[in-house]
Amino acid sequence: MKKIVALILALALCLTCMSVFAEKAPIAQENIKVGFIFLHDEQSTYDLNFMKAIDEVAAEKGIALVKKVGVPEGQECYEAAMDLVDEGCNVIFADSFGHEPYMIQAAKEVPEVEFCHATGTRAHTEGLSNYHNAFAAIYEGRYLAGVAAGMKIKEMIDSGKITVDQAKMGYVGAFTYAEVISGYTSFYLGAKSVVPEVTMEVTFTGSWYDLSAEAEGAQKLIDNGCVLISQHADSLGAPSTCEAAGVPNVSYNGTTIEAGPNTFIVSSRINWAPYYRYVIDCLVNGTAIDADYTGTIATGSVELSDINTAVAAEGTAEAIEAAKAAFEAGTLKVFATDTYTVQGAAQDSYMADVDTDEAYTADTEVVADGYFHESEYRSAPYFDVQIDGITLLDTAF
């Protein structure tokens, strides 16, 4: 009985919240001031990717922009957010996962300002009308980049440079976090769609930006016999190491061709500009911003850089285009359960931790209709399954 009453009360609360906040007062475009909190500065490929997008949209819409760079994932983020509130920002963005709790704290205290946090997981459960998460179906972009990697490995096998047994890729990840796992698995599945025998080794650095750790990780993988490297960490450590060793590299966050003119193949990235346009339009029109926004290939949020034809295998562009068309037609799913196995068995059910909690409770069934429904129940990835063919060298982080 108590539970039912509590449930009804909670529902009533949600409904009143929604009715109160569904419509917000429109803000004239020239009065909009955007605050942006960056984890690092433009030295980080990850932050640079956000910076370019917000600069582009701010210039295009003629709105004021205040940037705070080098804001750690701690109380400093809350302080930076409140500083931006004091400076009169109507909407505040933050770009790093660890900023989330501090953005929520600020959002609770300042209900009249919108807080939009990229890569976070809690907007859909927090029940705040002014706090929002955004991400993109980057696993599809990673898959396409993986196709390019597969094409390159196929070329190496066909030319006799390596045998099929030696078709091993390496991947430098930051943390053993779902976003990274989803990323490397989709990359692997993309390559596997071209070379079914391919395997992959993954190492973790324990930091989103650590030049020397990423370089060491890449070197370790190369020494282990990996013939192609990709990464999900934000410095130029891995691309530079690949260039020095002459090992092909598939990048992330945008082209790294300057660091690796002879080894860079292609890079996937999230283009955040469509999201920023969407948020600004919501403010101008006085409409509510979605709690979760997942950009797609169709919205222009998932992009590949130009292919470095000097390194990429012949036919790479065509193979990518074919896969991209299949995604848009809905005939291709990255995590189709007939393309991978977990401990030798097909995956026909998986409970994922979609609603973030301290106990990591697996709360939502995400496998249905023959594929793992990534980024559908919230924008941030929750694919955290260890599939066969991928070996984790260390899981300390």
Binding site: D41, G74, F97, G98, P101, Q105, Y177, T356, E358, D384
Partner: protein
Amino acid sequence: MSEKKREPLLHVSKRASLPWYAVWGIRLAAVALALVLCAIVSILVTGENPLQIFSTIISGAFGTSRKVWMTLQNTAILLCISLAVTPAFRMRFWNVGGEGQALMGCLASAACMILLRGTMPNWLLIACMLLASLLAGGIWGAIPAFFKAKWNTNETLFTLMMNYIATQLVAYFVILWEVPKGAGKIGIINQQTEIGWLPVVGGQKYMLNVIIVSVLVLLMFFYLNYSKHGFEISVVGESERTAHYVGIKVDRVIIRTMILSGAVCGLAGFLLVGGTEHTMTTTIVAGRGFTAVMVSWLAKFNPIWMIVTSMLLVVLERGAGQIATNFGLSSSFADILTGIILFFIIGSEFFIFYKISFHHSDAKEAIARG
């Protein structure tokens, strides 16, 4: 022949102690010079009017009531750690382990918030956090003191190394308690329930920390200047032999003082985690354990003066951060400005203890004086 020998142009000599106004005059001149250099650097980089840069420093620290409170909060924590290291310094025990001792306090508080939540009333949990933090900090201070007292190990190196151990311990527990899995971050602890959060006093969430540290300033002032312990610390600092001679148990004073030093650092950790940040990261103390050395030293180990020196450093740091934001510079620029300022402040100490004279006239004077 001796006349042809080239003598150095400058002559450095130790000077007799200066009156307090001259000492502070030199320090203020150093700050002024530092600000001038900062202005020059900023103008070269930004092309802005220097007055605007100085007003940005002030507005960065005091521009809004929220900024004033943040400045006060940052000052309170820095001051707390500075007060903590001071008794050890007075006894010439160079405790550069404030960072690690405070970090252990943070770890203890966070552990209580995570492991004991839901098992006891909030006031009891907060009491546990406080006790655990004092204990953790105290132990972290006692270990190097014990080795110093027993085997005369080098306390500077020992306390420094203890910082790294504390950082790695915290790193380990961050991974253990991370949310969500794999993220490598704890996030805000008990954000929904606010279990283990210190109560908000007077509607201002930074108020409690400021009050506690203000009381601590007075307590430390009286402890150091008017208590038997304080006297013993001073005697040991002056000369261990004298202390032995007058019957002070030096070993005991060293260990007791370092437990106190560490425990007050632990208190700072408790105030950080329970009072304002409600999280734990390896960088939560943010180098204050080292800045505290400077705060304490500049104030000549006087708790009352430390209010001034700690606030000075915090204001400069927050102001430099505001310059970087307002003029669209990277965060490294703020570090450059803070670096220049600290360089001048530390450098000014040299001119307080030594005087520089051009040898020629000086030598003549010396001869004249006979």
